[in-house]
């Protein structure tokens, strides 16, 4: 079994094992989870170190035929088990390893129904990784949907007082998004062929390994002339073939030359919009963001960490992996809209964060604001913007994990998250204050921390893009001021001044050892990646510049 499969199946198998282990071993489950996610992190780091930074293409490829169905006049249906990483997914895989490991440490505070919890947590780990390394759209969708199940239970069973509402809202909201993605997926499936498998079907070559560029050109020209017999066309979900317009069946819905329209929108434009909605919910972008604050407020700390740290990034990842390569001309046309929604998210999220009295909600809205930068970067269609967006995803993963852990620290002591319940914490909890200050300043884009590079490069992309009016990007820069405002105001209200708390004073103790080993490495990582941004940029830029050639 190759390493990518191992990444997926190690946690899933562990999850199954935990589910069926006798009751008396339950106290050890947290350690098992910790070890499994630790090994997972090690494997992710190994892949990162082995990753060839000079190559734009997919690496560590792994492919097996999974389902092949002759469908008569509809051709042959083929779904592959296809894995691989490139510069876009590599940072995300690394991030998953980091955040899931930190989340496992944080999970030690879970005291009820541990069997279910750890089993679901590991299942979640496997599906998230799967989502980032699947290159077959069907497989991607499978993992994408599969993530919802553990998340639903993790929020719904271990969450706060309104957990049922929050979990069902999260589930249904995301599910609605997935349906949009599903529709596009089916449309793509009917339109795209796998030229290699088709050649095998037609008997031009004996096996897929014999394929040459000439064969593919031959198949594509036959396809364009409509001379391929329908029974022998192999339809595919393979994401590698979808960006190439030569692989689209002539006259199919999503062919570039297709004349199909609904309400003035071509099917391709519609598909792009559908993907925007689907992944926009996941990101989340304003105005489809309202599930996020609720889910965060109710979720237990480790689940919040995972949610903000990784799950949101799947939205941004989906843009770069699916929507943009497959529909480049539409993305080009709608660039202003994408950036517009990004700027809206930045400003709107920041204003809402400013108004919050619940610390966790404040941070949730700051996530909305920070995810807006990703949209600005992606929408700009520039090298700076794209690289900055992936960087921002990574950086926000680290920083938001840290922020939610910090809220968890306070909540676990007092069960009160209201900002106005605290004053002058700095004199009582110096380490906690120092860590919070670091996390806040890193998040508001202080140089030397990772948030700075992400924000500056996405904004720089937005500003240098010829597709976007300058004032729009300038407006986004205003988000930097608002970001500083809500973070500093919170610092002032909660941590400075004379010490005062609303309820219990006795339970307030400074960071414990377990909290330190989660927070210190995250702070250190934010610093290291901020000072050496090439740790991410070296990985991403080849793949992203390849992607940019489509525009």
């Amino acid at each position: 079994m190759s390493i990518l499969s191992l990444l997926i199946f190690l946690p899933i198998v562990a999850s199954l094992v935990l589910a069926f282990t006798p009751e008396r071993f339950v106290p050890y489950f947290k350690w098992v989870t910790l070890i499994v996610t630790g090994v997972e992190l090690g494997l992710c780091t190994f892949v990162y170190l082995q990753f060839d930074k000079q190559v734009a293409d997919y690496q560590f490829l792994e492919q097996y035929d999974w389902i092949t169905l002759p469908l008569g006049n509809l051709g042959v249906g083929s779904i592959d088990y296809l894995l691989g990483v490139d510069g876009i997914s590599m940072p995300m895989v690394l991030l998953t390893g980091i955040v899931m490991f930190i989340g496992a440490i944080s999970s030690f505070e879970i005291g009820t129904k541990e069997r279910g919890y750890y089993s679901l947590y590991l299942l979640l780990t496997g599906s998230i990784i799967g989502c980032f390394i699947a290159l077959d759209m069907f497989l991607f969708y499978l993992f994408f949907e599969f993530m919802l199940l553990p998340m639903y239970f993790l929020i719904g069973l271990w969450g706060g007082p309104r957990r049922e509402y929050a979990s069902i809202k999260f589930f249904i909201y995301t599910l609605v998004g997935s349906i949009f993605i599903l529709i596009v997926m089916i449309g793509l499936y009917l339109s795209v062929i796998d030229p290699v498998e088709t050649a095998v079907q037609m008997g031009l070559i004996n096996s897929a390994s014999d394929v040459t560029p000439q064969i593919i050109t031959q198949i594509q020209s036959l396809l364009a002339e409509g001379e391929l017999p329908a029974q022998q066309i192999v339809h595919t979900f393979d994401l590698r073939f979808m960006p190439d317009q030569g692989n689209y069946v002539s006259g199919s819905w999503l062919n570039v030359f297709s004349e199909n329209h609904i309400g003035g929108l071509s099917f391709r434009a519609l598909s792009f919009i559908f993907l925007m909605i689907g992944f926009g919910i996941k990101l989340p972008a304003v105005p489809v963001h309202t599930w996020l604050p609720d889910a965060h407020v109710e979720a237990p700390t480790p689940v919040s960490v995972v949610l903000a740290g990784i799950l949101l990034k799947i939205g941004g990842y989906g843009f770069l992996r699916i929507a943009y390569p497959i529909f480049p001309e539409i993305a080009h046309e709608y660039a202003v809209w994408i950036v517009g929604f990004g700027v809206l998210s930045i400003i709107y999220g920041a204003f809402n964060a400013l108004a919050m009295n619940d610390l966790k909600k404040m941070i949730a809205y700051s996530s909305v604001s920070h995810m807006g930068f990703i949209l600005v970067g992606i929408g700009s269609l520039t090298s700076e913007g794209f690289n900055g967006a992936v960087y921002q995803m990574f950086s926000h993963g680290i920083l938001s994990a840290m922020l939610f852990l910090l809220v968890g620290v306070l909540y676990s002591r007092t069960h009160d998250r209201r900002i106005d319940s605290y004053q002058g914490l700095a004199s009582k909890l110096p380490l906690f204050t120092a860590m919070t200050a670091i996390a806040f300043f890193a998040s508001l884009g202080l140089p030397a921390f990772s948030g700075f590079i992400g924000e500056i490069f996405t904004l720089m992309g937005g500003f240098n893009s010829t597709l976007i009016p300058r004032w729009l990007a300038a407006l986004a820069a205003f988000g930097l001021v608002l970001g500083a405002a809500y973070f500093l105001w919170t610092l002032q209200r909660m941590f400075f001044g004379n010490f005062w708390v609303r309820y219990t004073e006795e339970s307030l103790s400074d960071l414990s050892f377990r909290e330190k080993i989660m927070l210190y490495p995250l702070a250190l990582m934010a610093l290291i990646f901020g000072i050496f941004p090439n740790l991410i940029f070296d990985v991403t830029h080849q793949s992203l510049s390849e992607l940019l050639k489509l525009f």
Partner: protein, 622 residues
């Protein structure tokens, strides 16, 4: 040239070491910092001597790259850089020595000295870097350092408020600066290198955007309000902020980018500078807090530096101002320190509670007097030389900026006002009778050498002799030759005019010496109403909008689903399921009716069959 790395990173070490050593090693922290800064000053001086005759040096290193586009980190050093290096380290060293005593009773000294070093590190970064992107990074770090130091006494609500205000005001300026950087990046062929930039001429709007950075950091109108509030920090920090770091950064940026600026941009900037200068000096008149007067005077002097239009005269005034303003602040700190040790329960910064201090602390008095005469621009003192430089710029008829005479008038007015409030301040603090009843004046004493030595040195540097052997003209002074300036012409008219105006100020100040002015409304209330309150309001409205509208739509849709589901459920139960039920029901009825016909009586069957038969026959026949 590895020494330059040492110069940059020694202060960083001065930040990290005390932070690691922590509270347990409080006393050590101060001495470590002083030692490291002293070392760095030696490095800088050595470096200065080494490069004295190189016009410009440029060292570049790769930082990271995206595709083929490399983002570099580099050092650029010319005379300006070299001067700044020595200046920053020199002032920082004096401030740190002063702090050893001033902060002696402070429980968190390690934090204080660590942050001071961080401040110096960020400032050196700005000075040394060769491109705007890296400069922006250090620029923000300067903002952070000032936040940490102004809010050092975090239990004091005013200090926390002031630190937040300083950071946010700076962020507003920085946002403009950042947009300016992006614009320049785009305009200048994707390069932010200062060496390539200085060859191009920028559109006016870009110049103004870049200048926004200076507006924030150097407290120019309309973002000047943070600087007076920043007085909430420890006094030595004020000295550092006002003399060597922070506000100087803005002017430094202006000097660096000024060659690219258009005449229109310079006119607007001069306008901003003039407003700032006059505003600052007017506000300085109305203060009763010794530090606030000095703070507003810094605002005013920064305006004057901007009126130097980023030429060597701006640099010169920056240099002389650094010494006399640091001297003034440290002296003010010495006064406050002395009063603090003499008694409690009064505002040790209120000048109305001072007076007659010249007899108690004569050394501080002399230093304060010399530094304030330098600030007023009286002959024989350093400020005179640099102010004359800036004045000569506006006396010069070749100056291309329109309204030249107007600006000249503004500067002269500024000179009067400066002399006016400084004379009054010196009088209020040092002359007359001691006005504080809570304190026995006999308990007021000078501090130790750690307090006196820095002030003494700064006082010496505030005299004109240090800068030019002929203290009435800087023409042949070392500064001009050091900067390779060639623009200065000896102009006796300038010197005479500026002296006359300063003397007018001194005289009027003396005449009104016993009258206190106060109560001039600040911009704060206005900004609060115009910007802060609307922002907070908007945010709470948007929050309501988010919950009552955006989220309500989601919930409405969800509820709609539920209702539709219920409707369908009803339909399913009543109609869909109703049809078979109805059929069953109706067949039941039919069955019941027909059942009665099937009574099991043969006679009835026969009768009915017979009737049926008759009916059939009738049907056929008829």
């Amino acid at each position: 040239m590895p020494i330059i790395w040492f110069i940059l990173f020694t202060p960083l070490l001065g930040f990290i070491l005390p932070m690691i050593l922590g509270k347990k090693n409080n006393t050590l922290a101060g001495w470590i910092t002083v030692g490291l800064t002293g070392l760095n000053l030696a490095f800088s001086a050595y470096f200065l001597l080494q490069n004295l005759h190189n016009p410009q040096n440029h060292l570049v290193f790769d930082w990271f790259s995206i595709n083929d586009k490399a983002y570099k980190f580099g050092f650029l050093f010319d005379s300006l850089t070299l001067m700044m290096l020595v200046l920053v380290n020199f002032i920082a060293l004096l401030v740190e020595i002063f702090s050893l005593e001033y902060m002696h009773d402070e429980p968190d000294q390690y934090r204080y000295f660590g942050f001071l070093s961080l401040f110096v590190f960020s400032m050196l970064g700005i000075v040394l870097t060769d491109n705007l992107f890296v400069m922006y990074a250090f620029w923000e770090l300067v903002g952070l350092s000032s936040y940490l130091l102004i809010g050092f006494w975090y239990k004091k609500p005013e200090a926390v408020q002031a630190s937040k205000k300083a950071f946010l005001m700076n962020r507003i300026g920085d946002a403009g600066f950042l947009i300016g950087i992006f614009a320049v990046y785009f305009y200048n062929n994707q390069s932010l290198d200062l060496t390539t930039l200085s060859q191009s001429q920028l559109p006016t709007i870009y110049c103004i955007l870049l200048f926004c950075g200076c507006i924030g950091k150097s407290a120019q109108f309309p973002l000047h309000t943070w600087l007076p509030d920043a007085m909430e920090g420890p006094t030595p920090v004020s000295a550092l902020i006002h003399a060597a770091t922070m506000v100087v950064a803005g002017i430094y940026l202006f000097i660096r980018v000024q060659p690219m600026f258009s005449v229109d941009a310079l006119t607007i900037i001069a306008g901003i500078g003039a407003i700032t200068m006059l505003l600052g000096s007017v506000y300085a008149i109305f203060q009763t807090d010794i530090k606030k007067t000095l703070a507003y005077s810094t605002v005013s002097q920064l305006g004057l530096m901007v009126l130097g239009l980023g030429t060597d005269f701006s640099t010169f005034h920056l240099l002389t101002h650094a010494f006399f303003k640091a001297g003034l602040f440290l002296s003010a700190g010495a006064i406050i320190h002395a009063l603090h040790h003499a008694g409690h329960d009064f505002d040790a910064q209120d000048m109305r509670l001072m007076g007659g201090l010249r007899k108690r602390i004569p050394f501080t008095f002399i230093c304060y007097l010399v530094c304030s005469m330098a600030l007023m621009g009286l002959p024989l003192f350093s400020g005179f030389l640099s102010k004359d430089g800036i004045l000569s710029l506006w006396f010069d008829e070749h100056n291309p900026i329109i309204f030249r005479q107007l600006f000249l008038g503004a500067i002269l007015l500024g000179i009067i006002l400066t002399a006016f409030y400084m004379t009054r301040q010196v009088w209020m603090v040092f002359f007359g009778e001691f006005r504080n009843e809570n304190v026995n004046p006999d308990n007021i004493h000078e501090g130790s050498w750690k307090i006196k030595m820095p002030i003494g040195i700064l006082t010496i540097f505030s005299t004109g002799f240090v800068f030019s052997l002929n203290p009435l003209s800087a023409e042949h002074g070392w500064f001009i030759s050091f900067m390779n300036s060639d623009k200065i012409e000896e102009n006796h008219l300038v010197a005479i005019v500026s002296t006359i105006f300063a003397l007018i100020g001194v005289t009027t100040g003396y005449l009104t010496r016993n009258k206190t002015f106060s109560g001039l409304p600040t911009f704060d209330a206005f900004y609060q109403k115009l910007f802060v309150n609307p922002t907070v309001k908007l945010s709470s409205y948007l929050q309501i909008f988010d919950q009552q509208f955006v989220d309500a739509i989601v919930n409405f849709l969800a509820n709609l689903q539920v209702h539709i589901a219920k409707l369908i459920g009803w339909f399913d139960a009543k109609i869909i399921d109703g049809v078979p039920n109805g059929l069953a029901y109706s067949s039941g009825i039919v069955g019941r009716i027909t059942r009665s016909a099937q009574g099991g009586k043969v006679q009835l069957y026969i009768g009915i069959a017979f009737l049926g038969l008759i009916g059939l026959v009738l049907f056929i026949v008829l």
